[in-house]
């Protein structure tokens, strides 16, 4: 028998069925506009980034992600109209602890719909954020809520599952890190994390091209290219963990110099030590996460993707090979028809880096375009770009600032034979 109250309930269910959109309105469920708790207690060091602030609402940890257009700088001189979260690409890192009840508000400030997928998370299917499958899309201006109790630990990610090709190509992604409820050993002293990505930022343009499948221009750690990528710092002997997630379109063999690191975890959490394995290079496949750990050894250690083209800035894929071409006697004649013509690359491309990084051709490229190779070290051009940075380990590191270039001990540096 239908009471008046049942009628109201049934009517609201009818409307739900009609639109297919679940809705709940409650003051207690407003997005945390002013997070009381900031992320100062973050344990993760997000390269060139930060952890997301949160608010405790009773026993629920609340986060608010806002999908929106962002002005992003890949490295000085190269900016782009990207999309991200809370003003950056990648969005801020979410840090939670196993067992917590979490509530994630997602507001869409884009002009097209989106959703949020919690990549690697164990959650109720309806919280998985697959547009059209588990929920209707989040329309511009709407805020949707995702909520579950975390039943795992490990390095996870978040990204949209709506117009994914475009939205991810524009930089919509972030790290989602779940700390274990029970501390594991050995204790980690420095916990770094970043995402791998590739960008079709054609030279001279200001917006990534989402249609590119293979020939990317920029290769990034957390949407930055060398030399704009943060260095990783540690004191000698520190237990360092680096968490790497890959939301690009290529697999990346991530290589650390001077250490045998252990591959100790992934989205599956920190592995049992029995299956840790020593490596110097670990391929992080597309959609995968890998944690590596090592005891820091003093030095300035290169840390990069080992695909040589992924440690370069933009360069043409149809550029004729210049190496070995004797053409210097033609230069003066060519300048008669093309003033400013110069040769580079006759003996290899290092010459190019010298002219670009240290020479007068520094800013001679197209607008908003970084050079193919960049960076200057204590002994000359570093001739790198893209997915490259340095792990700086010092006996006497002060814990906060860049210690400068490494001072090698006598007898511990290569020398020229006189």
């Amino acid at each position: 028998m239908s009471t008046r109250r049942n009628f109201i309930r049934d009517a609201s269910m009818l409307s739900l069925l009609a639109t297919g959109i679940p809705m709940r309105a409650s003051a207690a469920l407003a997005p945390p506009a002013n997070t009381k708790k900031n992320a100062a207690d973050a344990r993760i060091i997000t390269l060139n980034g930060r952890s997301l602030d949160y608010r405790m609402n009773a026993e629920v940890k609340e986060f608010h992600l806002i999908a929106e257009p962002v002005e992003h700088e890949f490295a000085p001189g190269t900016v782009a109209k990207c999309w991200g979260y809370n003003g950056t690409t990648p969005g801020p890192t979410i840090e939670v602890t196993e067992g917590e009840r979490i509530r994630l508000f997602v507001t869409n400030n884009l002009n097209e719909h989106t959703t949020m997928h919690w990549h690697g998370a164990l959650l109720p299917c309806g919280m998985d954020g697959i547009g059209g499958v588990t929920q209707p899309h989040i329309q511009p201006g709407e805020t949707w809520v995702y909520e579950w109790t975390v039943r795992q630990h490990g390095t996870l990610m978040y990204h949209p599952h709506a117009d994914e090709m475009t939205q991810m190509a524009f930089g919509m992604m972030g790290l989602f890190i779940v700390h274990p409820k029970q501390p594991t050993t050995p204790k980690v002293d420095r916990d770094y994390a970043f995402l791998l990505h590739n960008w079709a930022m054609h030279p001279g343009t200001y917006r990534p091209d989402p249609s590119v499948m293979v020939d990317f221009d920029l290769w990034t750690f957390n949407s930055k290219t060398f030399p704009a990528i943060d260095y990783l710092y540690a004191s000698s002997g520190d237990r360092v963990r680096i968490r790497v997630g890959n939301l690009s379109m290529w697999n990346h063999p991530i290589h650390l110099h001077g250490h045998q690191f252990y591959v100790t975890g992934s989205d599956g959490g920190r592995y049992p030590q029995a299956i840790w394995r020593p490596e110097v290079t670990e391929i992080v496949g597309v959609g995968q996460m890998r944690d590596i750990e090592f005891d820091a050894v003093p030095g300035d250690w290169a840390f990069h993707c080992h695909m040589a083209h992924h440690t370069m800035g933009p360069m043409s894929h149809n550029f004729p090979n210049m190496v070995g071409v004797q053409q210097r006697d033609l230069v003066e004649r060519i300048r008669q028809v093309v003033p400013g013509y110069w040769t580079h690359g006759e003996n290899g491309m290092a010459e190019h880096a010298q002219h670009i990084v240290g020479g007068h051709h520094r800013n001679s490229g197209p607008a908003n375009t970084m050079p193919m190779m960049d960076g200057m070290g204590p002994y000359g051009p570093i001739e790198m770009g893209g997915m490259f940075t340095i792990v700086k380990v010092r006996d006497d590191w002060d814990g906060k600032s860049n210690p400068g270039w490494f001072n090698h001990l006598p007898g511990e540096q290569a020398y020229k034979l006189e």
Partner: protein, 463 residues
């Protein structure tokens, strides 16, 4: 009685002498030419036929003085004047003498008749006026011939300026492609590009070379054409740059009015119809006066008696009253009027066509100036920047420059087409309209050495 004869003879002689012949007016024609071409009179007489002119005005001076065609046209005017004078002269009086021996009487019978063609005297003013009209027409034809020659020179001068600039750009175009091929050879020798790619560069260079040869020949041909129009032996040298467009073009009605008032051919046709109308009127007025002579007749008889008295000779218009001549004159007038109309139609159409060509060239040039050439400049700068950052190869860089030069050659074609159409319009106006003087065209692409030096100042490094 003899006095009467003397008086008659005297009158005839005086009448014949009083008639003044027509003058050719060649000096006036020359002055008109100078005036139309806006040339200064003094310079013409000073012109030296052994020196090559450097400017168009200079060239026109030279042509007027040195081109034999000008002198031929003036000599033809003189000949025509003489022929007309021959045609309008009054026939000399006829003197008839008859001497007869008489059997019946002693002595001879003498008859002396002096008969003057009075009809010539009566019709003389009309005939002179018709001859004057014919001479006036001839003067206009002479003026037209000389102006046409000057206009041919102007037209060729513009053609030559374009051919010269195109040849200069074409030489750089061919050099650019040639350098690309040489660069390609180095890349191929180094093992960096294959034979296919190298062959492409060689084909491009060879094709550019063909064009370069063609352009050089065309420049030389234009030079020879001008040399011929000038009537000098040495090849002239371009010292005057092609000019940019004036701000606006005249409208059709302005040029049409100028042409009507000034074009020698239209003037000649107008003179012709006026003269034909007059001729028809005369034919009608004198339709009954066919032939008329008057004089004195003297007879000395064998018997000694002498008689003298006036004599006339008159054709009686009984069967012929000049109708055929009137019909012919009527036909001539109608033909002349239609010829004038046809000429008007021709000029009106040609003026519209010439202006249409100028306007087309103007709009094409605007597209080049406002859009295509600036875009090529940008493209070239960007390609160099991309080359600097290893984003574009050297072959594409040089080919971009070559394409830019090809575009500049196409632009020059349109600029030349504008000035040549303007010179056609000037011809249609009878030389009485000419386009405004404008600044010289500056072609950056022909002076890259300066740019190169500037670049070198900024970029001191030389590999």
């Amino acid at each position: 009685m003899y006095r009467l004869l003397a008086i008659a003879l005297g009158c005839l002689w005086l009448t014949g002498c009083a008639i003044r012949p027509l003058e050719s007016g060649r000096d006036q024609v020359l002055q008109q030419t100078q005036h139309r071409l806006r040339l200064d009179n003094a310079a013409i007489t000073e012109k030296n036929c052994s020196a090559a002119p450097a400017t168009l005005a200079d060239a026109m001076h030279t042509a007027l003085l040195c081109n034999p065609q000008v002198q031929i046209a003036l000599a033809e005017l003189d000949i025509s004047t003489a022929e007309l004078n021959q045609q309008i002269r009054i026939d000399n009086p006829n003197l008839g003498l008859t001497v007869r021996d008489s059997d019946s009487e002693s002595g001879v019978n003498i008859e002396l008749d002096l008969l003057a063609p009075v009809i010539d005297l009566i019709l003389y003013p009309a005939r002179k006026s018709a001859a004057q009209a014919t001479l006036d027409r001839h003067r206009q034809f002479t003026l037209a011939a000389i102006l046409r020659l000057a206009n041919d020179l102007e037209n060729a001068w513009y053609g030559w300026q374009v051919a010269d600039l195109k040849a200069q750009v074409g030489n750089r175009f061919a050099l650019t492609r040639q350098l690309n091929a040489e660069l390609g050879e180095r890349y191929h020798q180094a093992g960096n590009i294959n034979l296919h790619e190298f062959a492409e560069l060689q084909i491009n260079a060879g094709t550019a070379g063909l064009l370069e040869d063609q352009l050089n020949i065309e420049r030389k041909a234009m030079q020879i054409k001008i040399q011929r129009l000038l009537g000098i032996r040495q090849l002239p040298k371009i010292q005057q740059a092609l000019r940019i467009l004036p701000d606006s073009d005249p409208d059709v009605s302005t040029i049409w009015q100028i042409a009507q008032a000034n074009h020698p051919l239209l003037q000649a046709a107008q003179i012709n119809t006026d003269a034909l109308a007059q001729s028809l009127a005369l034919e009608r007025r004198f339709r009954f006066l066919l032939d008329f002579g008057a004089g004195v007749s003297l007879e000395k008889e064998a018997g000694g008696g002498t008689s003298i008295g006036p004599a006339i000779e008159l054709e009686l218009p009984l069967w012929n009253q000049n109708q055929a001549e009137i019909d012919a004159a009527q036909g001539q007038l109608s033909k002349g009027q239609q010829q004038l109309l046809a000429l008007h139609n021709h000029f009106s159409a040609e003026i519209q066509l010439a202006l249409g060509q100028m306007q087309l060239a103007r709009s094409r040039l605007a597209r080049y100036r406002q859009q295509i050439l600036p875009a090529y400049k940008t493209k070239m700068e960007q390609t160099l920047k991309e080359y600097n950052y290893m984003l574009t190869g050297p072959f594409e860089l040089l080919e971009t420059r070559a394409e830019q030069m090809e575009t500049i050659m196409a632009f020059l074609d349109d600029l030349g087409s504008y000035w040549q159409s303007a010179s056609k319009l000037s011809r249609l106006s009878g030389g009485s309209w000419s386009p405004a003087k404008t600044a010289a065209l500056q072609l950056d692409v022909l002076a890259p050495e300066t740019q190169a030096q500037q670049t070198e100042q900024n970029h001191v490094h030389t590999p």
